[in-house]
Symmetry: C2
Subunit: 203 residues, 2 copies
Amino acid sequence: MTSEGVEPGTVRPGGRTARVRESVLRAAGDALAEHGFDGLDLADVARRAEVGKTTVYRRWSTTTGLIADLLDDMAEQSTPRTDTGSLIGDLKANARLVVKTLSDPRQGALFKSVIAAATCDARTAESLHRFYAIRVQEWAACVTQALERGELPAGTDPGEVIRAVSAPLYYRLLAGGGPLDTAAADRAAEAAAAAARAGVYVM
Amino acid sequence: MTSEGVEPGTVRPGGRTARVRESVLRAAGDALAEHGFDGLDLADVARRAEVGKTTVYRRWSTTTGLIADLLDDMAEQSTPRTDTGSLIGDLKANARLVVKTLSDPRQGALFKSVIAAATCDARTAESLHRFYAIRVQEWAACVTQALERGELPAGTDPGEVIRAVSAPLYYRLLAGGGPLDTAAADRAAEAAAAAARAGVYVM
């Protein structure tokens, strides 16, 4: 498989090519976390990754293409959902994972940078929305199981429940209102479960 | 009152000075909505506002100071809360106002820009958090009234309920998951009310 004629951000290579991709994406994530998206520069990423500039420019072309590929990789590498056997247990695990990610210095800064980049660029927004859609789909299976166990009203939209868990935690990250801690995570999970039980997410 | 020795972003003048401030803040909002925060430039804002560059530099010093003053002005100018007589009525009015603001082309772009700016700069983040704290406090009175009417469990935190209404709407703006429409607004209000009734926001 060659990268020729492949749309930047869609290449899925193996071997040395995979190692180069891994180094470049790690360097891109470091640069985004340290300097924000407006400081992202392909030449700087190549230097950090110890990869030839030409390779980086040929494969990713633009910082937008590089962020898109980074988000695809983050979606692939993300932790699988848990299965605790109860809706509230699963939603709390999801909320605590979101809090752990957003309150981690590198990951929190990286997410802020990518969210900021998405506000300025439609293609980055599309990549970011795809990232969240993939993560929501992974965890939505917990809600589907809860529906099968009869824990929730029939017709409940699983994706809406999972997005409801994340939303107050992202709000705290960006708009304030209190710390991103375990109490905030558990409250987000309990709020989503209470609203779901009340039938708010029946579509 | 002179602007001498006054911290940028804190001046509250009257008369001609107030008209200059109004023009400059409107121009700053237009520039942020059109070009994003990384395109914000004091000389460009002065030109748009038809105000001398020196005046703008002397009064606001930096783009950070200008954004801080714009956010303070937005908080002051914001629509007062409604009083429909019921918690769900008030929360729906709040949610619909948030949707109207975020789905307005100029206001939506302006909020995205300011959120992006806040991810890169601690002082802007502080100004943005203060803006939301003021708006939350305004609407929290609806929850306090609902508590007095016995609609919610004693000890419910009014601010948490109001933030819960906004959170899924900002999540849609930034992370996707569906359109910002009246259905989304009403669902956000119903979810916050259901969680509040279930005692999730009792602190």
